[in-house]
Symmetry: C2
Subunit: 194 residues, 2 copies
């Protein structure tokens, strides 16, 4: 059992995702995401694990520098909810490890759907009883793949691998993030259009 | 006036996008998309223009090899609509030039919204009187940024630029595509959640 509050991956608290492993296969194919990418992600696990807190410092610094992104952690016109920021950060740290672990099975798909619900107004703020905006606007989900993966790359390079291997790990992270923000988008999309 | 059927960029046939230049600014900031990227895209224009047909051959080859993607050009259970494929290809060629030209002003935002409507069931098939699926499923929009930009990179390298410049052009293309698929998603997203 995880000791991270609200991290419910693999538990009965998570509902079944509308997206099955069979649905996910063609999505992976569209993203050119294959076994080589799974291997590259897993190869990145030691280095992202070793530097997870420093990676989060960079990402939180980016969010903190952006009024539009800070606003998602704050009530309208107010200051960010610091307890919420801290709680999300603990799960965000685990997200790094889970992304690199790359066990993208049905429980993982189910938890991605849960993450989407927590970005959407359906479950935003509920997990942490946060005082913050009602939704993370859809418009920022795909763009944020850029800062997340761009700032990750220098950390990937700290593992002592060749530049070509770092490039493979980086490309696999980009693909995984694109697939994940697609899964997270499900609650935002009109029924039948996903 | 363009001679490309259905290419209505900058004409009165295109409605105003719900996304303004003021809305687009924070989206660009979230994607780390800045003046350097505009310059890199414009620097890519000669080489993508010179190789546009070869690039389209690669992209159409990828679509053709994917049952899920071919299905968007075909009626349910039927063969792809070849006239539709050809008509889309002419506009897709212009899309390469417009993306590299990077004049991302209000008329461009308006036309991105039009492109989104033509992927969504609201206007799918209408422009070309196509016999094809009612919608491009949302689930493939973000993943397809990978094959489009990955297969573009070898063409970008044909311009005689240093590898670092090619990397900059490629990164700018990835950012632009992520912003564009976000704009195209607007018709798919529940009102108020974008």
């Amino acid at each position: 059992m995880s000791t991270i509050p609200g991290y419910t991956h693999g538990t009965a608290a998570v509902a079944r995702s509308p997206i099955t492993v069979a649905d996910f296969g063609p999505m992976c194919a569209a993203a050119l995401f294959g076994d080589d990418d799974v291997a590259a992600l897993r190869r990145s696990l030691p280095v992202v694990s070793a530097h997870a807190d420093a990676i989060l410092d960079v990402w939180y610094g980016f969010v903190g520098s952006s009024p539009a992104l800070v606003a998602t952690f704050a009530p309208s016109g107010g200051a960010p909810d610091s307890a919420y920021l801290t709680a999300v950060r603990r799960r965000f740290r685990q997200w790094i490890l889970d992304t690199a672990g790359a066990n993208y099975d049905q429980p993982w798909l189910d938890y991605q759907h849960e993450i989407g619900l927590r970005h959407h107004r359906i479950k935003k703020n509920a997990t942490d009883a946060a005082h913050a905006a009602a939704i993370v606007p859809f418009r920022y989900l795909a763009p944020l793949v850029v800062p997340v993966t761009t700032t990750l790359k220098p950390f990937l390079a700290r593992g002592g691998h060749d530049a070509a291997v770092v490039d493979q790990m980086h490309a696999a992270w980009v693909k995984s993030c694109l697939l994940q923000i697609t899964l997270w988008s499900h609650p935002y999309v009109i029924a039948g259009d996903f």
